[in-house]
Amino acid sequence: MKKAFVVALVVLGFILAGCPARKVVQPEPQQPTVAPQETKQGAAKVKPEERITEQRLAKIETKEEPSKYIEEKALFEDIHFDFDKYDIRSDAQPVLQKIASWLLKNTSIKILIEGHCDERGTNEYNLALGDRRAKAARDYLTALGVASNRIEMVSYGEEKPLCTEKTEECWTKNRRAHFVLLKEAGK
């Protein structure tokens, strides 16, 4: 009697617990822009209906801020870097010394250092590499006495190559720091 009662309890337990969750096949909303409409109740069967729409992407024109500076013609030659490197080579030192002494004489002018790379790297890493190259040139100039607030820097990564052929000669030319003189606009 007692045994039968236990068995009955166990059976009841299974029934109450039910089967494990089944995979429920239901159409999922595919996109937040899809607005499902009410399903029409047909005579024979339910025919689901969906209205497909999406947001029209409007044009958002970028407001370009005017530049504070006017770029002057470059007076100095570029300095070059080894592949994947950002340390100042010995052949770049005389160029940087010339730039430093010119800046110490012409104190009203700022300089922009552009860091560039060859095209072989990937774009974000090249941008970081160009940034380190510009910074290496800046650190050299400040060590020679140029005030750091007179030096602007920008990295262009691989975006502004001087030379576009896929040759070692071309890549060598593109791995560079380029110097631009900046005059404040309106002065």
Partner: protein, 421 residues
């Protein structure tokens, strides 16, 4: 005692069989996409009736065949006319297991009805009516393909997803959005001299990206609901946007504001910034895992650019790439079980690996291939390549199969990023 146990086991077994029977009857899976040995499902797609009918059924066919899960049986083999009612006896002789039929009417709206039939069971397994303005014929067709895909695989399709990318725009660069198959390219008008990879918010309503404007690298956000752009961050040096975190208001980025490029997390609401790394070298390209617990990134701390992972708080840094001297541009799969990245092996190629760096697999070989990102279901990868001369956007299956260009050669395109939904 022993007998009671036997009875219990018997009851349990009966119950299990009962449950199995029910489960099988309720949800028939036509294609088990998780199976390692996949049998393609032979499917027939009849030309839809109506003036736009062919265009719609062609889009559905292209969507389904790209997945590699279906064997499309060509219309020349069909015995049944599109106008005839479905009869399984017309389909089993030519080996078809699923049949799609439909009709399109054009009134004020485009109204399309689609039916999907099971040949073995000889019954209609899905039927639905779709309405849209005429200009949304492609999203409508993709919605039908999604319903077919869901009915047959139990998984959500990606046929309404989009890809954001950068291309030339009037002397500079601009941001564009297109359908995943390369159609319906929209120029957003957001410009810069250079623009880097756009990153989607996890709900697909925002993009963040870096642009160089007037010699300054800024991080910008475009909101597709309010349709405006705002500047989030700038400083001297480089500032490069990374992924959003799952919470939606935080995003990772790299900046050289303190000297060398380091990783940060910024909150969109209060603009507070938290520094994640500080090393003497380069730390860039933060990619946030789907659960938000880990960040994969690129660092040259070991002497060459390699991919590392760390916990979100900056702890537990591990290098995951050891082959090759240049591995960059990591992105996570939506399930978090793979990382895709670019490795240089003479040329730049795309690789995937598990997040611990094991199971390294090279999946491209032709030309230079960069900027990989996964589709929302993790089954496909979008990337850029110069293999045809002009840099363009390509898609492929995550194992490297079916590589195809989706942008035209008259537009120089790069840095594709697949939308999250």
């Amino acid at each position: 005692m022993n007998r009671k146990f036997k009875v219990l086991v018997l009851i349990f077994l009966l119950f299990t069989v009962y449950c199995l029977l029910f489960t099988v009857a309720e949800a028939k899976v036509y294609i088990d996409i998780a199976s390692p040995v996949l049998k393609k499902l032979p499917i027939a797609i009849q030309e839809f009736s109506g003036t736009s009918g062919k265009e719609i059924s062609d889009i559905i066919r292209d969507d389904l065949t790209f997945t590699g899960l279906f064997l499309y049986i060509d219309g020349a083999a069909y015995i049944e006319n599109p106008s005839q009612p479905f009869n399984p006896k017309n389909w089993s002789p030519i080996g078809v297991e699923a049949v799609v039929k439909g009709s399109a009417k054009e009134d004020k709206d485009l109204v399309v009805t689609m039916s999907l039939y099971d040949v073995f069971e000889g019954k209609e397994m899905f039927k639905k009516e779709y309405k849209a303005e005429r200009e949304f014929i492609r999203p409508l067709s993709h919605a039908i393909a999604n319903d077919i895909y869901y009915t047959l695989t139990g998984e959500t399709g990606i046929f309404r997803s989009r890809i954001a990318f950068v291309a030339d725009d009037k002397g500079g660069k601009g941001i564009y959005v297109m359908d995943w198959d390369g159609n319906r390219i929209t120029r957003l008008g957001l410009k810069g001299n250079t623009i880097l990879t756009p990153h989607w918010s996890r709900d697909g309503t925002k993009l963040i990206y870096s642009a160089e404007r007037n010699r300054q690298w800024g991080i910008y956000l475009v909101d597709f609901i309010s349709m405006n752009e705002r500047k989030l961050f700038f400083s001297q040096g480089i500032n490069m946007a990374g992924d959003f975190l799952p919470e939606g208001n935080d995003f990772a980025f790299s900046s050289s504001k303190d000297g060398t490029p380091d990783l940060y997390i910024m909150n969109l609401k209060d603009h507070r910034i938290k520094k994640m790394t500080s090393s003497y070298g380069i730390e860039i390209s933060p990619a946030v895992s789907p659960d938000g617990k880990y960040i994969a990134f690129v660092s040259d701390r070991g002497g060459s650019p390699q991919i590392y992972t760390m916990q979100r708080d900056g702890s537990n840094v591990r290098r995951i790439t050891f082959e090759g001297s240049y591995n960059t541009s990591p992105a996570w799969s939506p399930k978090g079980n793979r990382i895709v990245f670019v490795g240089r092996r003479g040329t730049n190629q795309i690789f995937t690996a598990k997040p611990d760096g094991t199971e390294l697999t090279q999946i491209t070989t032709a030309g230079n291939n960069e900027d990989p990102s996964f589709s929302p279901d993790g089954r496909y990868i979008a990337f850029s390549s110069d293999r045809d001369g002009v840099k363009g956007i390509y898609i492929m299956r995550a194992n490297g199969e079916s590589q195809q260009r989706i942008t035209h050669k008259n537009l120089r395109t790069s840095v594709p990023r697949w939308s999250p939904n």
